[in-house]
Symmetry: C2
Subunit: 324 residues, 2 copies
């Protein structure tokens, strides 16, 4: 055999060694055998990253591997699920052991941080693409769905939205920045997002609805409102802003397109009873911020210091088929 | 929103309607919620089909969708698992509702035949590619692994290997055929393979080892022998041959490269105690054939009517990175 598909799978399998007692049979047979925890629902999602569409062609291979898993762990986090296993379908333009090694390094370093076992792999020839299916578990009655938002809920977001969109604008030279530290911080949020797994687990059984921000805050909030049949008011002055984004764009209005309509944040947007949610230690640690409230009246209202605002983004969210 | 990603997912979700009581939450949230059967292992595999690599560019969209699921159900069959759910990551060169509809038609028509629910989907822009993760279940002690072959086992294959490779040779004009019926039959085996799910379920807990033939009979048999630490003798005159393949190539020697080294058959290759395996109704129905025996001596020996034969294929199996 050449340095072909079989060697590549063997190389990946040899490194997929997060030891988990619930992996009965890992990579190397026709399929993996796994032991789901009794009484919990299996939680499954799939997301693909294609070069030039979901990450700039210049992105480091380590970061591509990281991000391919991160966006999926973020979906599990948004369900309140405990990540357990993942499969990776890797398409590569040519056999390139160095590239594969760096991709797998990035993938596995995030996998190890969350004790996720890589249990299935497939490598094919084609343009660079990583398709990941992530598997986790959550007690069904504790799962965070999009459809549970109630009028009276407070609305929260984790982290500081807009940083990834600012990073993309810097990479694409739509924005410029002389400060290397600011630049690196923002591009780092684009290339290596942090799935909010621990927060999702804390919110399970507590928040009424949750989603992760992949398409932009307004677009993803719109999904929750539509699924729940409610509306919301968002207080723009409460949007959390990172030090780096504030340094890049000191004027709030210039940050809104990035914070409200930028994609790729992979923060959690969720709502629920404020007295219980703000009692979580993560709130005291500043891991999430109250940014608005859920209301019975349909539609999304933006305010600034209590005054209505009719600002709308040029395009609401990030549609892969709509953008070049 | 344009006719972009969200509409496409909604269109797929609206059609993903195999009703299963074990789907607690289907497409439309951050992740699906599924109820695995208590006491069984979850069985998970992933396989990707890329245009021009895993199917000729001329393949009908219906058949591409069918095959993307078929190759994964074949992996579950080779484990003796009951298929339950699947996710589909679809990469498309441009938004093309007609193409998507035909791909999904093919995918769902096979899914419905096996009551498999499509529970996760992702559509991205890129060269045509379908990456499927299939999920099933099997009692762990009944699962068919590669590593269980014993000396004394009889060796079996389902169906008639070589047909898909002959179909590919016809499509690529490496072989010619005037008989449209023969031609269609062979190309049909390439484009629309039959995952041997029911046979896999019958073999669970009975066969000692199994694999599905995707890389070619000899290559896949080699995987079983290596995993089990045994050898085998294969009696070439017992290889089952389809009417169409015999019509195309009446001379056995010319069929061997296709039957022994051709990929894409998705038949089951398995071994076990002949007295029990040949008592299965599927054996009486001719669904599988005894083609050899497992032996303690390592290596693979080919015979023809009892005489040793030193025939070897030019290349053993089908490596995607090694072929152009």
């Amino acid at each position: 055999m050449s340095a072909g598909e079989f060697d590549l799978i063997a190389a990946i399998a040899a490194r997929a060694g997060v030891p988990r007692g619930d992996v009965l049979l890992g990579i190397g047979d026709d399929a993996a055998l796994l032991a789901p925890p009794p009484g919990e629902a299996l939680c499954v999602c799939v997301d693909t990253l294609n070069a030039g569409v979901h990450f700039p062609e210049s992105t480091a291979a380590f970061d591509i591997g990281w991000k391919a898993l991160a966006v999926n762990l973020s979906d599990l986090a948004a369900m309140g699920a405990q990540p357990r296993w993942a499969t990776l379908a890797l398409s590569l333009p040519a056999s390139d052991p160095g590239l594969v090694e760096a991709l797998i390094d990035g993938f596995l370093s995030l996998a190890e941080a969350h004790t996720v076992a890589l249990v299935g792999g497939d490598t094919t020839r084609g343009p660079l693409s990583l398709s990941v299916t992530a598997l986790g578990s959550v007690a069904p009655e504790r799962a965070l769905r999009r459809a549970g938002a109630h009028a009276g809920d407070a609305l929260y977001v984790s982290g500081t939205p807009g940083d990834a969109a600012a990073g993309l604008a810097l990479v694409q030279q739509r924005l410029a920045c002389d400060d290397a530290q600011v630049r690196d911080a923002l591009i780092g949020r684009l290339d290596r997002p942090t799935p909010r797994v621990a927060l999702g687990l804390e919110l399970a059984g507590l928040a009424h609805a949750a989603i992760d921000i992949s398409d932009g805050l307004l677009a993803d909030l719109g999904h929750v409102l539509a699924a729940s049949g409610v509306g919301a008011t968002l207080a723009l002055e409460t949007l959390p802003v990172s030090t780096a984004l504030r340094a890049l764009l000191p004027q709030a209005e210039l940050r809104w397109p990035l914070q409200l309509a930028g994609g790729d944040d992979y923060e959690l947007l969720f709502c629920g009873p404020p007295e219980r949610i703000e009692a979580l230690p993560a709130f005291a640690r500043g891991e999430f911020t109250r940014i608005g409230r859920i209301e019975a009246a349909p539609g999304l209202r933006l305010t600034r210091r209590g005054e209505p605002l009719d600002w709308r983004p040029d395009r609401s969210g990030y549609e892969h088929f709509a953008v070049q």
